[in-house]
Every structure is written in structure tokens, then in C-alpha cells.
């Protein structure tokens, strides 16, 4: 079954026409557009746009919409990217590290990589002294760390995460 689904997804991918792409571009830029506004911008009708969206949802192209949270409004002024290299001589290093990192309440993102960096954590803190506390008590105690580098966020210059459709 997963194979069949993948085939369908690829098939639909090749069949995306100009209107589908316009819909995705406008919805990416402004997800809260009403059906009528979207139809007008795509130079189509609400019924047609609605059916196209349903089709793209069924094909797994549109997965949904998520609320974006501004952590600074909740008092988390500090965000640090921790780039972690793991001790790969331990067979279960990846699994045990990610399992433990998921339990840290201040971690909002966990990514694994192929490259010089193995895992990256996005860590939030209220201020620098809170960060220091989280870093010492919760991060440095995580298993199998060989090396950590920190990048402190100063500003988000571009953050829409839009795909170039």
C-alpha cells in the first residue's frame, strides 16, 4: 500500500497544472485566505479551487495548516541552535540521544543530518542565565555527546519556509 500511495503522489506531482501551482503559491503566502479571495487571486471560481484543494489534500500534497507561535511573546527571548556530534562508536548513540533530548521541555526542534553535524537541537530560554541552567543541567547531561557547537540566534531574516513552486 505505501508503494501505491507513493505512485499516486508522483503521478499527481506530474499532473499539477498551472492553476494548482497558483493555488499553492497563494495559499503558501497567505494560508488564511477565504475561498472567495483565493478564487479571485487565482482567476478561477470557488468551486473549482475547492475541488483542486481537496484533490491535493487527498494526494498528500497539502498536509494541513499549523499555527505559528512566537516564543518571544511567551517570554522566551533566547534561542540557541546546538549542533551536536555524537560518539558513533556506541551503536545506539543516535536513538538514545534523541530519545533523551525529546524529554527536555526547552527543546523545540530536533533534526538529524548527514554531514559534519549529527543532530541539531533548537533550544529556548527566557534569558541567558536560564539558558546557562538548561545547558548545564539538561543538555550536557544527554548521552553520547562527543562535541557541541552553539549558534545564538540574532534575527530571522526570512522565515516563511515556502517551497519554490
Amino acid at each position: 500500500m505505501p508503494c501505491l500511495f507513493l505512485k499516486n503522489a508522483i503521478l499527481v506531482n506530474f499532473m499539477l497544472d498551472d492553476l494548482d501551482r497558483r493555488i499553492l503559491r497563494h495559499l503558501q503566502a497567505e494560508p488564511s485566505l477565504s475561498g472567495a479571495e483565493l478564487a479571485e487571486r487565482c482567476r478561477s471560481t470557488q468551486g473549482v479551487c475547492g475541488r483542486r484543494i481537496e484533490k491535493m489534500q487527498a494526494a498528500g500534497i497539502i498536509e494541513g495548516q499549523e499555527a505559528v507561535i512566537d516564543w518571544t511573546a511567551l517570554g522566551y527571548a533566547v534561542e540557541v541552535s546546538l549542533r551536536v556530534t555524537l560518539d558513533k562508536t556506541q551503536a545506539r548513540a543516535f536513538d538514545e540521544f534523541t530519545e533523551a533530548a525529546r524529554e527536555v521541555g526547552e527543546v523545540i526542534e530536533l533534526q538529524t543530518f548527514l554531514g559534519r553535524v549529527d543532530v541539531r537541537l533548537s533550544v529556548l530560554a527566557q534569558d541567558m542565565s536560564h539558558y546557562q541552567q538548561v545547558y548545564r543541567d539538561r543538555i550536557l547531561t544527554l548521552p553520547h555527546i562527543a562535541d557541541i557547537e552553539a549558534l545564538m540566534h540574532i534575527a530571522r531574516v526570512k522565515q516563511d519556509e515556502a517551497l519554490p513552486i
Binding site: 498528500g60 495548516q65 499555527a67 511573546a73 513552486i165
Partner: protein, 152 residues
Amino acid sequence: MIELDEIDRRILRALRQDATQSAGALGRKFGLSQPATWRRIKRLEDAGVIKGRRLRLNAEALGFGVTVFLGVKLARKGQVSLEDFERAVSAIPEVQTVEHVLGLYDYRLRVVARDLADFERVLRRRVMTLPGAGEVEANVLLSEERLPGPIG
């Protein structure tokens, strides 16, 4: 700064999963009336906690098979204008996010591409040619999780 109670946190978690849920539907989930839920959502929006919505697309189904994070160091610091670099890098369609950071690198970029060959084209033709771009480190994304964080 806004204080959250357990219901606020549950509402935020639910909206992060699916932002299209109505106040009525959310209220039924948490045993609240529609107007009470609406007021809570409105308060979270007014305080800037919910700053918008994002459309979640399946990058792979749209033909984008590769995501790469780039650490970029500016060459000849002081001679390049940060504004020029930021404007030029933000204009590259394949660059999804640009973060100004402090540490080993100056900028952190999230780049999507159809495959590794396509990524190489973006890297050589668009990123390496940016005004002031110096050393670049690439890490290919294997997996990604977003966690509830402090609202968990």
C-alpha cells in the same frame, strides 16, 4: 508578558497541529463553550503568541527530495554590507529560511532542492556568488521533528 493556563496550552498545541479547527470544535474537545474558546484564541492572537498560520506541504510529493542546512561565513567582514547579503540571499527561491546567528557562522540557511545535483547548482550558481559569501558548510537533513516545547 502573557500568562498561560493548562487550557491555553492545550489550545495552542491543538492549533499547532491543525490551525483550521473552529473555536466550536476546539471548545467541544476541551469542554468549553464556543465563545469562551474564541475569547481565549483572540487573547493569544492579540498578545502575539499566535503570529500566523503556515501551510504544511509535502515537499517530497512536490518533487523536492533534498533539504540542506548551510552555515555561511561572511568573507572580508566590515567591507560587506549585511543588508546587501541579506537581501540577495532572501531573494533566492530555494532558500526557505535565513537566520542571522552568532558563533562559528554568520548565517544559517535552509535550502530545498529537487536532488543533490539540483542542490549543487543552487550552491554554486546562487549561494557561492552572493556578495560577501565566504566559507560554507553543508549538512543534508535526514529527519526533522517539531516538539511542543514550553507549551508541552
